[in-house]
C-alpha cells in the first residue's frame, strides 16, 4: 500500500515535470521564433543593414599566441554609437585566415568571436580554446527544442526519481 502510494506520487511528479517542461518549451519556442536569427546569421544581417561598420577587432592580425577572446569589455565608443554585430575582414596570417566578429551593445564591445579560422590546407582550426564569458540568455535560447537525454552532475539512484532524465525515460520518447 505504501509502495503504491509512493509510486503514484512519483508518476504524478513525473507527469507534472513532463507537462511543465513541454509548456516551458512552447513558451520558449514562441519567444525564440520572434527574435529572429542568432549566432553567425546575425553577423551577416548586421553587415547588410548597418552602414559602413568599422571592423574593430582584426586591426591587428591575430596570431596563435594571442587569444582573440576578450578578457573584459573594451572602453565605450562615442555616445549614440550603434549596437549590433560587426564582422571584420578576413585577415591572412601564416597560419591561415582569421575573421573576427565584434558584438557591440550600448557602445561597448561585449563579445569578440573568432568566426573563421583555417589552416594552410583550408581546414577549420581553433587557434585558441580559452573559455570566454557567455551570457545566460545566450545559452538559454538553445533549450527550446526537445532533448534526447539529460546531462548533469552525477545523480544518485534516489535523485534520479526527481530528475528530468527520469521524466524522459518514463515518457519513452
Amino acid at each position: 500500500m505504501r509502495t503504491r502510494a509512493t509510486l503514484s506520487g512519483i508518476f504524478a511528479s513525473v507527469a507534472i515535470l513532463v507537462v511543465g517542461w513541454q509548456a516551458g518549451s512552447a513558451a520558449i519556442t514562441a519567444v525564440h521564433s520572434s527574435s529572429g536569427t542568432t549566432g553567425a546569421n546575425s553577423a551577416s544581417s548586421a553587415r547588410g543593414t548597418t552602414p559602413a561598420p568599422t571592423p574593430a577587432a582584426p586591426a591587428a592580425p591575430v596570431s596563435p599566441a594571442t587569444p582573440v577572446t576578450p578578457a573584459s569589455p573594451v572602453a565605450p565608443a562615442a555616445p549614440g554609437a550603434p549596437g549590433g554585430s560587426f564582422t571584420g575582414t578576413s585577415v591572412s596570417t601564416q597560419y591561415g585566415s582569421v575573421q573576427v566578429q565584434v558584438v557591440v551593445a550600448n557602445g561597448k564591445i561585449t563579445d569578440v568571436k573568432a568566426l573563421h579560422l583555417t589552416d594552410d590546407g583550408g581546414r577549420s582550426v581553433q587557434i585558441s580554446n580559452s573559455a570566454a564569458p557567455i551570457l545566460r540568455s545566450e545559452v538559454l535560447s538553445s533549450q527550446s527544442a526537445r532533448v534526447s537525454t539529460v546531462g548533469g552532475a552525477t545523480y544518485t539512484s534516489d535523485a534520479y526519481l526527481t530528475s528530468l532524465q527520469s521524466a524522459l525515460d518514463q515518457a519513452g520518447l
Binding site: 515535470l17 511543465g20 516551458g24 519556442t29 525564440h32 521564433s33 542568432t38 549566432g39 577572446t69 568571436k113 573568432a114 581553433q126 585558441s128 580554446n129 580559452s130 573559455a131 570566454a132 564569458p133 557567455i134 551570457l135 545566460r136 545566450e138 545559452v139 538559454l140 535560447s141 538553445s142 533549450q143 527550446s144 527544442a145 526537445r146 532533448v147 534526447s148 537525454t149 539529460v150 546531462g151 548533469g152 552532475a153 552525477t154 545523480y155 544518485t156 539512484s157 535523485a159 534520479y160 526527481t162 530528475s163 528530468l164 532524465q165 527520469s166 524522459l168 525515460d169 519513452g172 520518447l173
Partner: protein
C-alpha cells in the same frame, strides 16, 4: 525510441535505442530481442566494473587493496592499467584530478564509470548498433543519429534549478561525449591533490570520448579557472562552466555546439 533503464554503480543508466516504426511483426520481435540482448550486455559491463572497483563492496579487488589484503603488484592487469591511466590524468591535470583519497586509499571512481560506459559502447558497436545514446547518472555518450536523422540533443540541468535545463548541446557526430561535474547532486565528493578551488558550481565538458570528458570536468571543478585555462588550451574539448555566482564561461567550440531550436 525505446528507453532501457537499469541501476548500476549507485546511479541509474539509461540507454536509448531508436525503434523503427511499422515493422513486420517478426522483424519487430527480432529487434526487441536484439535490443534486450544489447541492454543485458551493457548492464553486464557496468556490473563487471562495479565488482572489481567498487569501494562499497568489501569483496571487490580495490577493497582488498585498500585494506592491504592484496598488494598492487599482486593485483590484476586490468586494475593496474586503470590505476596507471588515472595517474596519467593526475599528471595531465596538475594534480587537480587524482586517484588518491586524502586517507591514502586508491579510489578509481573518477574513471570507472566512464570506462564502463566505453566498454558498453564497444559492446553495442560490436553487436551492430550504430545509433544509440547512453546516459549513466548524467554523463552522456552517443553515437549516430536519432531516428529522424537529427543529432542527439543533450540537455544539461541548471545547477540553480534542477528541474530546469540550462542549455542544450547537439552531438552531431564530431563529438560523442558530454560529462558534467559539480557539487550540486552528490555533495562535495571531489577531492584533489591541489587546493580545492571553489569558483565553479558546475562544469560541463564535451569531448570525443567519455573518459576525457568525465575526468576533465572533475578536474576543472576541483582546480578552478587555472586548471580550466591549462586544460582546454590545444585540446579538442569544449567546456562550459557555471560559477557559484551564476556567471558562465564557454569555449568557442561550445558556442557552436549549442543547439539552436
Amino acid at each position: 525510441m525505446a528507453q532501457h533503464v537499469f541501476e548500476a554503480m549507485g546511479t541509474v543508466v539509461s540507454l536509448t535505442l531508436p525503434k523503427r516504426m511499422a515493422l513486420p511483426e517478426r522483424v519487430a520481435l527480432l529487434e526487441r530481442m536484439n535490443a534486450a540482448d544489447a541492454v543485458a550486455s551493457v548492464a553486464r559491463c557496468f556490473a563487471e566494473f562495479d565488482e572489481r572497483y567498487s569501494l562499497y563492496r568489501p569483496d571487490s579487488e580495490l577493497s582488498l587493496l585498500a585494506r592491504g589484503e592484496l598488494s598492487l603488484t599482486g593485483s590484476s592487469d586490468e586494475l593496474r592499467s586503470t590505476y596507471a591511466a588515472s595517474l596519467r590524468w593526475r599528471d595531465e591535470t596538475g594534480g587537480a584530478f587524482t586517484p588518491h583519497r586524502p586517507d591514502g586509499v586508491i579510489d578509481l571512481n573518477g574513471t570507472v564509470k566512464a570506462l564502463a560506459m566505453q566498454a558498453a559502447a564497444d559492446e553495442l558497436l560490436r553487436s551492430g548498433f550504430s545509433h544509440w545514446c547512453l546516459n549513466a547518472g548524467g554523463d552522456v555518450l552517443c553515437t549516430g543519429y536519432q531516428p529522424d536523422g537529427g543529432a542527439w540533443r543533450v540537455g544539461v540541468v541548471d545547477p540553480a534549478d534542477r528541474s530546469a535545463l540550462l542549455f542544450t548541446l547537439c552531438l552531431d557526430g564530431t563529438r560523442h561525449a558530454v560529462a558534467t561535474s559539480g557539487s550540486a547532486e552528490r555533495g562535495d565528493h571531489i577531492w584533489s591533490a591541489t587546493a580545492i578551488d571553489r569558483t565553479y558550481l558546475q562544469v560541463t565538458v564535451v569531448a570525443d570520448d567519455i573518459e576525457t570528458a568525465d575526468v576533465l570536468a572533475t578536474a576543472i571543478v576541483a582546480g578552478g579557472p587555472t586548471t580550466l585555462a591549462t586544460i582546454v588550451e590545444g585540446r579538442p574539448v569544449d567546456v562550459l562552466t557555471v560559477a557559484r555566482d551564476g556567471a558562465m564561461t564557454a569555449t568557442p567550440g561550445l558556442n557552436r555546439a549549442l543547439a539552436t531550436v
